[in-house]
């Protein structure tokens, strides 16, 4: 760790710490509820003015996208500086300034594949949280087999014309723009797909919310009926969208993995079990079977955290994404689902409250979170598909004939 400008880094740390002390709004020290999530965008209603202030201050420094180039409004930080920033943010338990598909998925591929004009047009508003994006990938007939997608995109000379349907489009009803996979050639599968961007207020776009088992409705069926899209809103080449689509999925999985689906947030499993079940004279959770399974889960979570850290260190040393990424998504989903199952079990019926009296806010959140976590092994590529990818790409096993 000694070589790269240790003293500069320490100066950066001191500066960052001072800036955060000055600029992090005190009212955000309270824990963040699910409805406090700062998604931004044109339609977003800020319940808390300080959350908006925090976003604006961070965005002004480019720190919502700390490592993106300064020319598009990013922070321009090095990996090492970014690590310091992350550490300092963690130290004060700062809430995220912005949560955004633009930051996590679209931005990185725009930086890689978009034209200069497209970068200038789309990246700054992602960083400032002004435009909220949704992901138009899945269709009724194209889930795991994503390249089977049928949404039609025709070249009409001065514009593209899009017709078809997407499904499971998270927050399509809240989003301002969509990044969308469309079919531009029906004679080929993967080589007939293109990657386009368009405004969700374009005539012919309709998003209908779908209710989840958790009772909330974060995703939609999305219909396109003769939607006209300007031709400069295609990213990459005509029929060259698949490569971009896959790259974006890598970023999506990486991001999901790094956050571990937010495991660790909310109630602490061990504390809950101690409280609801009690402890023996040695301070052990007074249900040996459950205690052993909680210990096994905590060890899994520890192993997961160490693996994320190792993958980071290795990719830094060797450059380029490591094969660990697809294992990590699989492991993260399993771990988060296990955590919720154990939480519900430890809480007993108190962990299955649906609404109203008799349940604290964080108890109700457990019920909803437990149900929501079932999507972790489906969204962003199912666990079975993850295992297929590991078997094929990493282990070199062939497809069944």
């Amino acid at each position: 760790m000694a070589d790269f400008g240790g003293t500069d880094l320490e100066a950066f740390r001191a500066e960052t710490r001072a800036w955060l002390a000055e600029n992090y709004p005190a009212s955000l020290n309270a824990p963040m509820g699910e409805d406090d999530a700062p998604w931004g965008g044109r339609k977003f209603v800020w319940k808390n003015a300080d959350a908006k202030l925090w976003l604006d201050r961070m965005a002004a420094k480019g720190w919502t996208a700390p490592m993106w180039p300064k020319e598009y409004g990013g922070g321009g930080l090095s990996k090492e500086e970014n690590k310091v920033l992350e550490q300092e943010l963690r130290k004060i338990r700062a809430r995220p300034a912005l949560m955004s598909f633009g930051l996590w998925m679209l931005g990185p591929v725009l930086l890689e594949y978009a034209t200069e004009e497209q970068k200038q047009k789309f990246i700054p508003s992602i960083i400032k949280g002004e435009t909220r994006w949704c992901q138009g990938y899945s269709e009724p007939g194209a889930g795991s087999d994503l390249a089977a997608l049928q949404t039609k995109c025709e070249d009409k000379g001065d514009h593209f014309l899009i017709n078809g349907q997407k499904v499971w489009t998270s927050y399509a009803d809240q989003a301002d723009w969509i990044f969308c996979l469309v079919r531009t050639d029906t004679s080929k599968k993967h080589e007939g797909i293109s990657f386009v961007l368009f405004d969700m207020t374009t005539p012919g776009v309709e998003a209908r919310p779908i209710k989840l088992i958790s009772g909330s409705s974060p995703f939609c069926e999305t219909f396109f009926d003769n939607v006209k899209v300007p031709k400069d809103q295609m990213v990459g080449k005509l029929n060259g969208g698949w490569e971009i689509a896959k790259r974006l999925l890598q970023y999506e999985r990486q991001n999901i993995s790094a956050s571990g689906f937010g495991a660790g947030g909310g109630l602490d499993l061990v504390e809950v079990a101690k409280k609801e079940i009690g402890v023996d004279d040695q301070g052990r959770i007074d249900d040996g079977d459950l205690r052993a399974r909680i210990a096994a889960h905590r060890m899994d979570a520890h192993a997961f955290m160490l693996t994320v850290r190792r993958a980071e260190a290795e990719s830094k040393a060797s450059k380029g994404p490591s094969a660990a990424v697809s294992i990590i998504k699989y492991a993260a989903a399993k771990m988060n689902q296990e955590r919720y199952e154990l939480m519900v079990e430890a809480m007993g019926l108190q962990g299955l409250g649906w609404e109203g009296e008799g349940f604290a806010k964080d108890e109700l959140a457990v019920t909803r979170g437990w149900l929501r976590s079932k999507g972790n092994s489906i969204e962003g590529g199912t666990s079975e598909v993850n295992l297929n990818v590991v078997a094929k790409r990493v282990l070199g096993l062939l497809d069944h004939q």
């Binding site: 052990r284 052993a292 520890h302 190792r310 040393a317 062939l398």
Partner: protein, 375 residues
């Protein structure tokens, strides 16, 4: 794989090449079929000593290279791959650690150079029953004049018959982790009786009885009644190092199996095309990767002088679990051939179970992890 420095990369590569060449599984078969009751092959161990492997963690002033535990782990991973039987775990890892952690200057000067040079075999004699339970140490040591007398027995002591030096955990007072004292006892001291215990892994261990064994006051390693302060971190080093060996064993078992999946044909195609096997292989790979993170983290924590109790238990428990699984799948995925003595799958399975039990099984470490974390 952790990001290694140049020395470590060289050490690992050399260890890989040497073990594949000089200590392959056929060497273990020879040891087994030779009926010598030896737990390792002496000439092989002598060569390891010449290569400096016995002194990887030993400080330079005592003749070692002080490369550290992560480095020793790299060597152990390679010996684990080929199931090479040697006193690396008993001597170079465990006994060396105990002396480094608890030894007086005189004790270190007397024993460490000989360990580092591969001249002697030394071992920790801790367990007294079929399960690892250092807290239950009962072998009695009583004060007589200015020395001590030891009475009791130890069992499943690694390389116990060959050991020149025994580091014996004894009860001097109290109970549990209080009142344990460590003693340095010559392997051939009067009153010491050693019996070979032949285990499924073809290496075996020893039962050792102590009848009125007399030692001087200078035989105490660390402080009287406070042996736990040395014993616990010594055991954690043993656990982390053994976990590295087991990671190597599991990795090799997995790789051999993977190779078989790519070559064995049934139903007109290689069996590796069947998804039922692919997903199990991918899960094993995931577990192997996670285990590697834990093993390296434990070794690195030890090298950094941090509290390594939780990570050592994590590493050992994880290594137990993946080696258990990989050894079962190795037999299963090989079908009938995996059940034969001629195939190596059985050797991996047998070594797996012995290694799993040594220095604490999975439930032991799960329980300990919970205690350390306060539940």
């Amino acid at each position: 794989m952790a990001v290694l420095n140049e020395e470590q990369t060289m050490l690992r590569d050399a260890a890989r090449e040497w073990t594949q060449e000089n200590a392959p599984t056929t060497a273990l078969r020879k040891l087994r079929d030779g009926k010598s009751k030896a737990t390792f092959d002496a000439p092989t161990w002598a060569e390891m000593g010449q290569m400096g492997w016995a002194g990887v963690v030993v400080p330079e002033e005592h003749g070692g290279s002080a490369f550290g535990y992560l480095s020793l782990g790299l060597v152990l991973e390679e010996t684990g791959r080929t199931l090479a039987a040697s006193p690396l775990i008993s001597t170079a890892l465990t006994a060396a650690s105990a002396l480094m952690l608890g030894g007086s200057e005189a004790q270190k000067a007397e024993w460490l150079p000989r360990i580092a040079g591969g001249e002697i075999v030394a071992t920790l004699a801790v367990d007294e029953g079929s399960h690892h339970a250092p807290e239950k140490t009962a072998l009695k040591a009583e004060k007589t004049g200015d020395g001590w007398v030891l009475n009791g027995s130890k069992t499943f002591v690694l390389d116990g018959e060959a050991a020149d030096l025994l580091i014996v955990a004894a009860r001097t007072s109290g109970k549990g982790t209080d009142g344990i004292t460590l003693f340095l006892v010559a392997g051939d001291a009067p009153g010491v009786t050693r019996t070979h215990l032949s285990l499924a892994d073809s290496r075996g261990a020893a039962k050792i009885t102590f009848e009125g064994v007399e030692v001087g006051a200078d035989a105490v390693l660390g402080e009287v009644d406070k042996g736990w302060a040395v014993l616990e971190p010594t055991l954690d080093r043993a656990r982390a190092g053994l976990a590295a060996e087991m990671l190597g064993t599991a990795t090799q078992a997995f790789e051999i199996t993977l190779e078989y999946l790519k070559t064995r044909t049934q139903f007109g195609q290689v069996i590796g095309t069947f998804q039922a096997l692919q997903h199990r292989a991918a899960k094993m790979f995931t577990d192997l990767e996670m285990t590697r993170s834990c093993v390296e983290a434990a070794l690195e924590a030890i090298d950094a002088g941090q509290d390594a109790r939780a990570t050592a238990s994590l590493a050992k428990a994880r290594a137990n679990e993946i080696l258990h699984l990989a050894s079962i799948e190795m037999v299963q995925m090989h079908g009938g051939i995996g059940m034969t003595d001629e195939h190596d799958a059985g050797l991996y399975m047998k070594r797996a179970r012995v290694a799993e039990a040594l220095f604490g099984g999975t439930t032991y470490h799960r329980d300990r992890y919970g205690r350390i974390l306060g539940f």
